[in-house]
Subunit: 229 residues, 2 copies
Amino acid sequence: MARQDRSARRSHSESSLEPRLSRASVGRLSLYLRRLEEFQRAGIHRISSNRLGQPLAITDTQVRKDLAFLGRLGQPGIGYDVDDLIGSIRSTLGIDRCWSAALVGVGNLARALLRYNGFIERGFRIVALFDSDLRKVGQAVDDLTIYPVSRMKEIIATTGAELGILTVPASAVQNVADELVAAGIKGLLNFAPGLIRTRPGISVVNVDLTVQLEQLAFLVHLTSTEPLS
Amino acid sequence: MARQDRSARRSHSESSLEPRLSRASVGRLSLYLRRLEEFQRAGIHRISSNRLGQPLAITDTQVRKDLAFLGRLGQPGIGYDVDDLIGSIRSTLGIDRCWSAALVGVGNLARALLRYNGFIERGFRIVALFDSDLRKVGQAVDDLTIYPVSRMKEIIATTGAELGILTVPASAVQNVADELVAAGIKGLLNFAPGLIRTRPGISVVNVDLTVQLEQLAFLVHLTSTEPLS
DNA sequence: GGATGTGAACGACTTCACAGCG
DNA sequence: CGCTGTGAAGTCGTTCACATCC
């Protein structure tokens, strides 16, 4: 019983005939992009795979393999053009435009995310707030009003939000996710513990802070238990 | 030039003679643990790999492989004992005790983390706050006073904090990390973009929210670009 | 029958080695 | 000579298949 979820985990990335961009590669491209923008601001226009990967502890070969997905951008003997790379990574990752997000669950974490400059700097904008707590509904946070979950469909349609950020308790996550999807949301960033089931075509990225902390505890536990060789 | 950082990325996990717990496995063990605690609260004492993995979209084989690291805990034909598993995962991950953390950079994200119940529930306690902004120093957040970075060594020694949580701007991360390590901190949870260089023996886990959002944008971009087969 | 444990097959990702270009 | 691009080799992690035990 229950073996039909074999395909659920690859609800994205169908058709893997040609080498597809792996999740790890996408993450590294994000890192390269930030690094490249620093170089750009510093007025540097040419960069080698070695120098790009070094501060990130990524080998030059790995960098080249990642960048090879973007096409043939490097010049042997010379390196890569910083501006070209930036443009190419942005368009490949789909972040050569703004993304609007709706946020559900206006607690402390939500407020932190709202004021997090990193998102705005990189073209992500939170355009709508929802909360199921009726005492919060109507309140304003920064320049946004908190709406009741019942008006989700309407508000998301008018604001044109495409992404959903979930900062609700674990018990509410699946319901809220379903409603967001019903309202037309295409992707979910979930901060609550516990995975979300969605229909294919909807992307989900989970950020589980507790798991991260437990990873850290494990690593420290390990290095203090195992004597260093 | 600069090829000497080959070993830096495996600053943890030395001696890989026997099969070592991979990062992915550790993450999944965290997830199993939470799931198992739910079962425990529900009064369920026996669980199969199939039922444990199902809601997490993890195959039964994968679950068994992960649990095999803990020893021979399952009974063929029966399954696993929930209490045994919980105890074993906790001790393997090193979270069968409390961990104290010092937090540096008291902004919005820090306040959210301070009030995040998930940490306390799982035995993580934030015991000291630091900020380089002298206007914040002396202020109290919840029941903690914000100390200047200059008193880090002293305060960390008296509070016995072992982990450091960094919610400072990217430009300050490396400096703060160095000071935390000098003060005796063993592991760092870094929320700022950009990697940290540390000496071996110090563990680092990076949580880069922008990278996560960009991953999501890419996935949505991909599914909307590529026609579904 | 129902479940675990595990060697072997498989697949994905990373590194090596080197050809080739500027 | 420096640096990219890339097939080949290697490594790591996941899935399959099946022996085994309750």
